[in-house]
C-alpha cells in the first residue's frame, strides 16, 4: 500500500516531539474525528532553525508530518509558506489516492504555525 520511503519515514520519523521554547505552534485536524498534527517551530532571523511535530493518525499522516519537517528545516518563513500538501506527497514518492487527505494535514498545520508566528511578530512590533 505504501512505498518504501513512506514506510521508512513512518518507522523512523524525523523531528518527533515538542519544542518547549517554540516561537510558534500550529495545529491541524480535530481531536474528535480524525488525524491531528501539532507542529512546533523555532525561528531565528526569519529562518526555521528547528522543528518538531506530534501526530495522531495513520501511517501516511505520520510519514507526511516527518517529511514536512525535513523539507522546511533551514528554510525561510516565506519559503516554508510556499510548501504545499502536494509537495510533501511528491517528496514521499507519492501516497495512495485515498490517503491524500492525510498528507493535507502537515502543510496545513505548518501554515497555521506560520500564521501564528506572524501574528505574534506583528503584536511584538506594535508593542
Amino acid at each position: 500500500m505504501y512505498n518504501e520511503k513512506v514506510v521508512e519515514h513512518f518507522n523512523n520519523p524525523r523531528n518527533v516531539g515538542e519544542l518547549p521554547d517554540a516561537d510558534a505552534i500550529g495545529e491541524n485536524g480535530s481531536f474528535k474525528c480524525g488525524d491531528t498534527m501539532k507542529i512546533y517551530l523555532k525561528v531565528k532571523d526569519g529562518i526555521i532553525e528547528d522543528v518538531r511535530f506530534q501526530t495522531y493518525g495513520c501511517g501516511a499522516a505520520i510519514a507526511s508530518s516527518s517529511m514536512l519537517t525535513e523539507i522546511i528545516k533551514g528554510k525561510t518563513i516565506d519559503e516554508a509558506l510556499q510548501v504545499s500538501n502536494q509537495d510533501v506527497a511528491d517528496e514521499l514518492g507519492g501516497l495512495p489516492p485515498l490517503k491524500l487527505h492525510c498528507s493535507n494535514l502537515a502543510a496545513d498545520a505548518l501554515h497555521d504555525a506560520i500564521a501564528n508566528y506572524k501574528k505574534k511578530q506583528g503584536s511584538v512590533v506594535k508593542d
Partner: protein
C-alpha cells in the same frame, strides 16, 4: 527478538488446509466433467459432488436437500434475503445495526424497493435486546436476519432465543453464520432457523465458495435463472473443486469441535489479558459471549492503522476497525453502534485467531505491542488529559 510471521487475521480469511487442497486437486485435472453431463465423466463428478453435499449437510446436522452451494457468504445472504422479499412482495424486515454489509446493504436496498426495515440497536457489548426485537415485530413482518456472531467485535447473539421468538410470531429467521460455522458448535435444527449463510474460506476452505442452508418447505423466489442447478435456486455450472474443498474443510473443522474452540478461547483469553494490562487499552465486545478466536481492543490516543502498520513491520497480521483506509473518517458502523467515541473507535484493532496460532504467537505479540504503543503514543499530540 527475531521477527516472526504471525497470522492473526483469520476473521478476514484462513489458509486452505493441506488435506482440503489434496481433496480438491483431482477436480482440476482428471475429474473435470460437468456434473450435469450424462456420460461417465459427468456422472463421476456428480457422484462426488452429491457426496460433498451429504458430508456438508451431515456436518451441519441437516438434510442434504437443505444445502444450496453458492459463491460465498455475500451470495448466500442475498439469495435468502432478496429471495424471501421477492416471494413476499412487500412487508417488514428486522435486522440489527451491526450486521455485515452483506446483510445491511441488502436491507437498505430492499428499503428502496418499498420494504420497511427495523435496524435493532445493540448494547455496549453488541447484543440486541430480546424485548426490543419482539416489540418491533409487526403484523407485516415476514423476516428477521440477525448474525450469529459479529465479525468485528466477536459478540455472539442469543440465536436460540431469537429463533424461539421468530417461531412464536411465525416469521422467517435467517442468520449470517459466516464467522461461527467451523469455529463454534452449532445445532441448526435446535435453533428454529430457516436460513443460514456460511463461507468456506473462514474455516480453512477455499475462497469463492459457500453455502446456504434453507429449511425444507420454506419457499423463496430465485434471483437468477439459468440451467436449473441447485434446484433452480442458484443456477450455473457448479464450482466443483470449491464445493469439494468446502465439504472437506467443514468436515475437518466440525470434527475438531468443541476441543478446538476451547483451545482457541484459551489463546484468546491469554491475549486479551495481556493486552488490557497495557495502560488505556479497552476490550471491545462481550467478555464472555464472544467468538473463541476474536480479540478486539482499542488503544487509546493512537490510531488503528498506524498500529497495524507497526505490527506488519514486525511480521504480525491483524486488522483494524478504523475506516481511514476507506477514505472516510467515520469509524465502522459496529464500533459506532456499541457507543465508542470516535477516538476510541479509531484506535481499534482486531486480532482473529485460528488454526495454526500457538501460545508462542500470543507471547510474541504481547512482547512486541507495548513498544509499538509507547512509540505511537509518544508521537501523538493526544493525551489522557486532552480527551
Amino acid at each position: 527478538m527475531n521477527k516472526k510471521n504471525v497470522y492473526m487475521d483469520h476473521g478476514a480469511t484462513t489458509p486452505v488446509r493441506q488435506e482440503v487442497l489434496e481433496a480438491m486437486l483431482p477436480f482440476f485435472s482428471e475429474l473435470y466433467g460437468n456434473p450435469s453431463s450424462l456420460h461417465a465423466k459427468g456422472r463421476d463428478v456428480r457422484k462426488a459432488f452429491e457426496e460433498a453435499r451429504r458430508v456438508t449437510a451431515a456436518s451441519l446436522g441437516v438434510e442434504p436437500d437443505e444445502i444450496y452451494f453458492t459463491s460465498g457468504g455475500t451470495e448466500s445472504n442475498n439469495i435468502a434475503l432478496r429471495g424471501a422479499a421477492k416471494k413476499h412482495g412487500s412487508g417488514h424486515i428486522i435486522t440489527s445495526s451491526i450486521e455485515h454489509h452483506a446483510v445491511l446493504d441488502v436491507c437498505k436496498d430492499l428499503e428502496k424497493q418499498g420494504f420497511s426495515v427495523t435496524y435493532l440497536p445493540v448494547d455496549k457489548y453488541g447484543l440486541i435486546s430480546m424485548e426490543e426485537f419482539e416489540s418491533s415485530i409487526k403484523p407485516e413482518t415476514f423476516l428477521v436476519s440477525i448474525m450469529a456472531a459479529n465479525n468485528e467485535i466477536g459478540t455472539v447473539q442469543p440465536i436460540s432465543e431469537i429463533g424461539a421468538i421468530a417461531e412464536k410470531h411465525k416469521i422467517l429467521f435467517h442468520t449470517d453464520a459466516v464467522q461461527v460455522v467451523g469455529q463454534m458448535p452449532l445445532n441448526i435444527k435446535e435453533l428454529n432457523l430457516d436460513f443460514l449463510s456460511l463461507s468456506a474460506h473462514k474455516f480453512n476452505g477455499p475462497k469463492g465458495v459457500g453455502a446456504l442452508y434453507k429449511r425444507k418447505g420454506v419457499k423463496i423466489d430465485p434471483l437468477y435463472h439459468g440451467g436449473g442447478q441447485e434446484r433452480k435456486l442458484r443456477p450455473g455450472t457448479e464450482n466443483v473443486p470449491g464445493v469439494i474443498g468446502l465439504s472437506k474443510a467443514l468436515e475437518l473443522a466440525v470434527g475438531e469441535l468443541p476441543q478446538k474452540a476451547e483451545e482457541l478461547a484459551k489463546l484468546r483469553n491469554r491475549l486479551i489479558e495481556g493486552l488490557v494490562r497495557i495502560d488505556d487499552v479497552v476490550l471491545n465486545g462481550h467478555p464472555e459471549k464472544r467468538l473463541p478466536g476474536n480479540v478486539n481492543v482499542s488503544f487509546k490516543y493512537i490510531e488503528g492503522e498506524s498500529v497495524l502498520l507497526s505490527l506488519d513491520l514486525h511480521g504480525i497480521a491483524a486488522s483494524s476497525g478504523s475506516a481511514c483506509s476507506s477514505g472516510s473518517l467515520d469509524p465502522s458502523h459496529v464500533l459506532s453502534a456499541i457507543g465508542l467515541d470516535h477516538q476510541t473507535a479509531h484506535g481499534s484493532i482486531r486480532f482473529s485467531l485460528g488454526r495454526g496460532n500457538a501460545e508462542e504467537d500470543i507471547d510474541y505479540v504481547l512482547d512486541i505491542i507495548p513498544s509499538i504503543v509507547d512509540r505511537l503514543r509518544q508521537m501523538s499530540p493526544i493525551r489522557k488529559e486532552s480527551c
